[in-house]
């Protein structure tokens, strides 16, 4: 569904993405994993159109995502830090996003809004909300317009355990409906249950993208965190052996 081919993005001397290629299929939940500065955020931002790649192709169902804002109606995004205009009320934020997406979405999905009881805080200004509550608002906005692709950047950071469980269940059920989910998180254990595939990035390249069950079977590790640590060591050794 999403195809990235030889995407390169440089910031000054830093090559954030270096001939990055990947293929993502619907019905899978991909966890983007890699050391700091490996290009995870840059890839997500290219997908969302907030960073413009220097070269390469990026398509969603065969249509180019570059220079094509209308296609972003099919993507839902939950940012890592949700900062909104201070005096905007919660209901107004939903109104604004609703107006922007008007006519370009297929039905509204208000499950999360109900689960997170957004109507109770609807009249509060955004600046009065706690970090966790703001994350809940961000999560609702990502799912609200029933997008085909969900990009969740550190979705569990700042959320209380109950909300994390609600969000996880929602992610699983949406994936089972055939949506594509793309996740990043530093707290790997949080993603164990919802990830189906691991994408491992290093130095701006995709090292591998494999089903998590295969990796488990291969390494014998149950927990994603240990598994990844093992893999990173593995790559290091491989790197050291290379001439």
């Amino acid at each position: 569904m999403i195809e990235a081919s030889s995407i390169t993005k440089t910031f000054g001397r830093l090559r954030a993405l270096d001939e990055f290629s990947a293929s993502l299929q619907p019905g899978h939940a991909y966890s983007l994993i890699g050391p700091n500065g490996s290009g995870k955020t840059t890839f997500i931002k290219c997908l969302l159109g907030t960073v413009i790649p220097d070269s390469g192709k990026l398509t969603l169902s065969g249509e180019s995502l570059l220079n094509n804002p209308a296609l972003r109606a099919r993507i839902g995004y939950m940012p890592q830090i949700g900062r909104y205009p201070d005096n905007m009320r919660v209901a107004q934020l939903f109104d604004l996003l609703g107006e922007i997406r008007e006519g370009s979405h297929c039905g509204r999905d208000e499950d999360l809004m109900q689960a997170f009881e957004i109507d109770k805080i609807a009249s509060k200004p955004m600046r009065t909300l706690s970090g966790g509550t703001r994350q809940r608002v961000s999560a609702c906005l990502a799912f609200l317009f029933n997008p085909d692709v969900l990009v969740l950047d550190e979705p569990t950071a700042g959320l209380d355990p109950v909300s994390v469980e609600v969000l996880k269940e929602k992610v699983i059920s949406e994936r089972k409906k055939g949506k594509l989910v793309l996740l990043t998180s530093h707290i790997l254990s949080d993603l164990d249950e919802i990830t189906t595939d691991v994408m491992f990035l290093m130095e701006g390249r995709l090292r591998f993208s494999r089903p998590i069950d295969d990796l488990r079977a291969e390494t014998g590790e149950e927990k994603l965190g240990k598994l990844i640590a093992g893999l990173m060591k593995g790559t290091d050794q491989r790197g050291a052996k290379a001439p």
């Binding site: 296609l71 205009p85 107004q92 107006e99």
Partner: protein, 256 residues
Amino acid sequence: MTPRIIKHVLRDILRSRIAVAYTLFLFVAAMGLFNIGGDVSKGLVSILSVVLMIVPLMSLVFATIHFYNSYEFIELLSAQPLERRTILLGEYFGVATALSAAFLIGIGVPVLLYDRSTTGACIIAAGLLLTFVFVAIAFLGAVCTRDKARGMGVALLLWFFFALLFDGIVLFILFTFQDYPLEKATIALVALNPIDLARTFVLLQMDVSALMGMTGAVMQEFLGTALGVSYTLGVLMLWVIAPLLLALRVFRRKDL
């Protein structure tokens, strides 16, 4: 789609304390200046000086702070099915309209109360134009500068240049080359500074040649009042459009 974003940005800013404080400050200053001298036309001249200093400063600083504070929100908007141009224009007109509304109430109401002359109307027009000019310049600066502290520095430097330094440079040029006929050069130099343009524009309406300064007198002599007014207004409009177009160009390719 732009009007809808303008509406939300506008509503957000009008509820902020800073917008209210700005309105109150202008209002109190204008009322005070009208009452101190007891003479309405003296009051207008003082108000003009305040407007020429404060409006550019407030527009630059407020618009710059607003842009950096809205950075994450702009990022979220740019991940929506929206053109970059729509987002920046929405933010620009939201900020410029909010500051214009504050200015209209703060200066417009006292002027309407004490003085209903053309000069008063011209001061209001000049203040509104300056607001749109300097919000555009602030957006250009903010779009080009990634770091918030540096962006604020750029905004303050620009104000310092246009409000204080530029006149010094012009005076220096005029004194250095005083043996040559510089009238036309002066008219061209004025076009490089929106604050001078606004000042000349208002002074051309006033019957106080003594206050007009070199530029005003030269312009009246060479262009006449009518042509002088259209010249200053036209170039001021260019000062709105050019920075805005440049900002849009940079923002279209900007990595957020």
